[in-house]
Symmetry: C2
């Protein structure tokens, strides 16, 4: 089938299919005499695999590993689990950071007085801190 059909069948855009091929995430597709790429059910299978892995947030390098394990019939489940767990750890870390930011911002929003144009910690907090001890000596400036 054509790249467009493979795209529809797998849910991966034609652009991305070509891109994945270009970075060797996927094997170069066969070509017809016309130069058109030609895909079979096996290819669609692989494409779907990639799409689902991306949906789960796996990075391209991780998907590369997963694909190798998938293709390799001698793969060990442990290897697969290891990659998945690695990704899981990353995601959990990301979730922790995100939650932290949510907590801070929620507190800021909560303590920013409604209506009145006065002390809003969102603004104060952002502006008033001096994060790094400045090493400024000669402020020989003429324009501000």
């Amino acid at each position: 089938m054509n790249i467009g059909q493979a795209s529809a069948a797998s849910g991966v855009s034609a652009k991305m299919i070509r891109y994945y091929e270009s970075i060797a995430l996927l094997p170069a597709a066969g070509r017809r005499d016309s130069g058109y790429r030609d895909y079979g059910t096996e290819d669609v299978h692989r494409l779907s695999f990639v799409r689902r892995a991306r949906d789960l947030g796996f990075s391209i390098p991780q998907i590369r590993s997963l694909l190798a394990l998938w293709t390799d019939t001698d793969r060990s489940n442990d290897d697969v689990r290891a990659i998945a767990r690695e990704h899981l750890a990353e995601m959990e870390d990301q979730a922790r950071k995100l939650q932290e930011m949510i907590t801070i911002l929620t507190a800021l929003v909560g303590s920013c007085e409604k209506g009145r144009r006065s002390a809003c910690p969102i603004i104060e907090e952002l502006g008033d801190h001096k994060p790094a001890p400045v090493a400024r000596a000669r402020a020989t400036r003429r324009a501000a």
Copy 2:
């Protein structure tokens, strides 16, 4: 002070300071005769503001709004709260999605048999689904 000192004082890299200037997130810095950019404490203040906002995950457009509100003495706290809440909603949405993926992946890892090279749902799941109802009719292919 020089861009390097402003960078050290604010925690924003010199590269980023120039970039922020180029996209007009920051006003163009004054120049000395040499062509060097020149910064004062006010500028460092603004830079720190930007950095902290970035640390909290605000996007550049959002920071642009916050900066305008910060600069504008007639700003209403409500405006600031609105932007913060908008960002908060985005972050919460992101956290939800992330948590969902974590749940799925955790389940998959849990049910992938240890050691034995057999049915590992991480692999099976990824490979066996047909996500999009294929619309292939005329598969006039010659090569598979």
